[in-house]
C-alpha cells in the first residue's frame, strides 16, 4: 500500500432523527448520510476540513474500501498523509450528498411510509439542502467551525453556499472549477442528459426499481454526453485522435474509433455504480443553484455576508466551467474587498483537471489551507 494513503477506510453513518425541511417545501422526517473521515479531530476541534463532492462523486474521497481494493477514492491524490490536504494535520470529512446513491438517503432508499423505494417520490434537493444536512453532520461530529470547506465543480457550489449562509462556521473556502450559477449552455447539456434517462423505456417515470428495471441505456447516454463536456477538444484529440480500433473502417455501426470505445466503456462503468434518479436530481441541483437570485442578480451583494478567506482556481482548457465563470466569483469578492486569491491553472484536461494531481494546483491547495484564517483584503 502507498505510504501516502489513508489506508483502508470504513464508511460511517449519521442518522439525522430531526429530519430536514427542504427548499422544495417537502420534508424528510429522518435521513441518513454516509460519510468517511481521514485523520484525527484535534482537541480544539479546529482542524476539520469538509470535502464536498461533485455530480458523480460520493463519500469515498480517499483510501481503499478493503485491503485488496485496487481503486482508491476519487480524490486520493490530494488527500492523505503528506498530501495537499494533509491528513496528518487535518481531520477530513466527506459525506455522500442527500439524494445520492452511495449510502445516503436517496431515491433508491426505502420510503418509510410505503416500505418501497422512493423512486419518483424522492424530492428534488438543492445545494442549500446539502449544506444544511452537512451542517447537521458537523454538529454531530462536534465541529463548530470548519477550518476549510473544499469543493470542485458542483462541490464548489456547496463551498460557496457554506461561505454565504454560514459564515461563522467556515474559516477558509476552496472553490475549484466552479461557477456562481450554471450557464444557459450548461443547463442545456443537463436537459439532454435528463431526456436521455427519462425517455428510456426502462425509466418507468422514475419508479424503475419497483418494476425491477434500470434505465441503463439512458443513464449511459447521459454519462457519455457528460464525459465529453468534462474533457477538452485538444485533450480528446491527444488521447484518441482518430485512431481506429481495428486499424481500418468496417462500414458499420459497431465501435470503430477508439473514442467511441472509450465513451461506451465509461458509460457502462457508470451505469453499474450510479442511480439514474440520483443523476437527474444532481443535474437539477446544479441548474437551480444561483445565490445571486436572492439579491436581485447581484453576486457581490449575495457574497457580502461571507467572512471566509477564499481560494478560487480554474483550469485553462475547462469549457464546461470556464475560468471566466470562476472570475465572476472572484470579481464579486474583490468588489466587496473580501480576501480571495485566484489561480488559472494551465492544463489540457478540461473540467476533469480538478481531479488531477497538477503540481502548482496541489501546492496552492496545501499552502492556502495553512494561511492564517483572518480574512482581510
Amino acid at each position: 500500500m502507498d505510504s501516502a494513503s489513508v489506508g483502508v477506510v470504513t464508511p460511517q453513518q449519521f442518522v439525522c432523527e430531526t429530519g430536514i425541511d427542504l427548499a422544495c417545501g417537502q420534508r424528510l422526517d429522518q435521513y441518513t448520510l454516509v460519510y468517511e473521515t481521514y485523520g484525527a479531530l484535534n482537541a480544539a476541534a479546529d482542524n476539520a476540513v469538509l470535502i464536498c463532492h461533485a455530480l458523480s462523486g460520493d463519500h469515498h474521497a480517499a483510501g481503499l474500501r478493503s485491503a485488496d481494493d485496487s481503486k482508491p477514492g476519487w480524490w486520493d491524490n490530494a488527500i492523505g498523509p503528506g498530501k495537499a490536504i494533509d491528513t496528518n494535520r487535518w481531520f477530513v470529512v466527506c459525506a455522500n450528498n442527500l439524494g445520492g446513491c452511495a449510502g445516503s438517503t436517496g431515491p433508491a432508499s426505502t420510503k418509510p411510509a410505503t416500505g418501497k423505494p422512493f423512486g419518483r417520490d424522492f424530492p428534488l434537493v438543492t445545494v442549500e439542502d446539502w449544506v444544511d444536512s452537512q451542517a447537521a453532520l458537523a454538529q454531530h461530529l462536534g465541529i463548530g467551525r470548519w477550518a476549510a470547506v473544499v469543493g470542485g465543480s458542483l462541490g464548489g457550489m456547496q463551498a460557496l453556499d457554506w461561505a454565504i449562509r454560514r459564515p461563522a462556521q467556515v474559516q477558509r473556502v476552496v472553490i475549484v472549477a466552479a461557477a456562481p450559477r450554471l450557464s444557459t449552455q450548461n443547463i442545456a447539456f443537463n436537459e439532454i442528459a435528463r431526456q436521455a434517462i427519462r425517455s428510456d423505456p426502462d425509466f418507468h417515470d422514475g419508479d424503475y426499481l419497483a418494476h425491477n428495471a434500470i434505465p441503463r441505456h439512458g443513464l449511459k447516454l447521459a454519462r457519455m454526453l457528460g464525459h465529453i463536456t468534462y474533457l477538452s477538444g485538444d485533450g480528446m484529440r491527444n488521447k484518441f485522435g482518430r485512431e481506429l480500433r481495428e486499424g481500418k473502417l468496417s462500414f458499420n455501426f459497431d465501435v470503430e474509433f477508439q473514442v467511441e470505445s472509450y465513451l461506451r466503456y465509461q458509460g457502462e462503468a457508470f451505469v453499474n455504480r450510479f442511480d439514474a434518479n440520483t443523476y437527474l436530481l444532481m443535474t437539477k441541483a446544479l441548474d437551480y443553484f444561483d445565490p445571486a437570485a436572492r439579491t436581485g442578480g447581484d453576486l457581490a451583494a449575495a457574497l457580502k455576508p461571507a467572512s471566509a478567506r477564499f481560494f478560487v482556481a480554474a483550469f485553462s482548457s475547462d469549457w464546461r466551467f470556464a475560468p471566466t465563470r470562476s472570475r465572476e466569483i472572484v470579481d464579486a469578492l474583490m468588489a466587496n474587498g473580501q480576501a480571495v486569491s485566484y489561480a488559472e491553472i494551465e492544463s489540457p484536461h478540461g473540467h476533469d483537471a480538478f481531479l488531477m494531481p497538477i503540481e502548482p494546483y496541489h501546492q496552492m491547495l496545501r499552502d492556502f489551507l495553512q494561511t492564517p484564517a483572518e480574512a482581510r483584503a
Binding site: F311, R327, V330, D331, M334, A335, G337, A339, V340, S341, Y342, A343, E344, I345, E346, P360, Q363, M364, D367, F368, T371, P372, R376, A377
Partner: protein, 200 residues
C-alpha cells in the same frame, strides 16, 4: 525592513498605515506581505506568472492571476488608496492604457521603471552601437520582456498627457541608492525611476 528589495523599501515609506492597495505585477508578493505586516495594508496583488502566484499563496498574500494588459475593468473607480506597479511598466503592451487605468482605479499610483536615459545606456548605444545591457536592463534585445522602454523625460511627457501630477520622484541606481546629484540630473544619472502620481 529586512530582505526587501531596496526600491520596495523606498516605496513602503510612501504607504500610509491601513491603506487599501493594488499591486500590479506583484511577483512573489514580498512587498504586499511586508506592508501587510508592518503597515496593516489590505488589498490584492495581480500577477501573470504561475510560479509567482504559487509563491503569493504560500505567503498568504491575496493574489489574482491575471494579465494586466487585459485591463483592470473588474476594479471600480477609485476603489484603492494606492495602485503600485514596480518594474513592470516597460513590459506591458500599452503603458499609457495601464497608467490611465491605474489612475482610474486608485487615488494614488506608484510606478517604478528602468530609465533608458541613463548615461551608460546612452553611451552604449552612442559609442558601442549596440542595445544597452546594464544591471537595471540585464536582457539581450532578442529575449527581453522589456518592450516599452522609456526615459524619465518620455515618462513625464506621458504623465502630463494623461493629466497625472508627479507628487514625488526619486532616482536611484541599480542598488537602489539615492544621491543628491542623481536627483539633480535624473534623466542622466538615475538608473531606476520611482514616481508617486496623482490625478490632477
Amino acid at each position: 525592513m529586512t530582505g526587501l528589495r531596496a526600491d520596495l523599501a523606498l516605496i513602503s515609506d510612501w504607504v500610509t498605515d491601513g491603506a487599501r492597495l493594488l499591486d500590479l505585477g506583484c511577483g512573489d508578493g514580498a512587498l504586499l506581505a511586508e506592508l501587510a505586516a508592518t503597515r496593516q495594508v489590505t488589498g490584492y496583488g495581480v500577477e501573470i506568472d504561475p510560479q509567482s502566484v504559487v509563491s503569493c499563496v504560500a505567503r498568504g498574500v491575496n493574489v489574482i492571476q491575471q494579465d494586466i494588459d487585459a485591463g483592470l475593468q473588474q476594479f471600480a473607480d477609485q476603489s484603492f488608496d494606492l495602485v503600485l506597479m514596480t518594474q513592470a511598466l516597460q513590459a506591458v503592451h500599452r503603458p499609457d492604457a495601464v497608467l490611465r487605468e491605474m489612475a482610474r482605479v486608485g487615488r494614488e499610483a506608484i510606478v517604478t521603471f528602468p530609465n533608458f536615459g541613463h548615461w551608460r545606456v546612452r553611451a552604449r548605444l552612442a559609442f558601442g552601437g549596440r542595445m544597452p545591457l546594464s544591471d537595471a536592463l540585464p536582457h539581450a534585445w532578442y529575449d527581453t520582456p522589456n518592450i516599452h522602454l522609456c526615459t524619465v523625460r518620455d515618462f513625464e511627457g506621458l504623465t502630463a498627457e494623461l493629466g497625472l501630477r508627479v507628487c514625488e520622484r526619486v532616482m536611484v541606481n541599480s542598488r537602489h541608492r539615492t544621491s543628491a546629484l542623481r536627483q539633480l540630473f535624473p534623466n542622466l544619472l538615475g538608473e531606476i525611476a520611482v514616481y508617486r502620481l496623482r490625478r490632477d
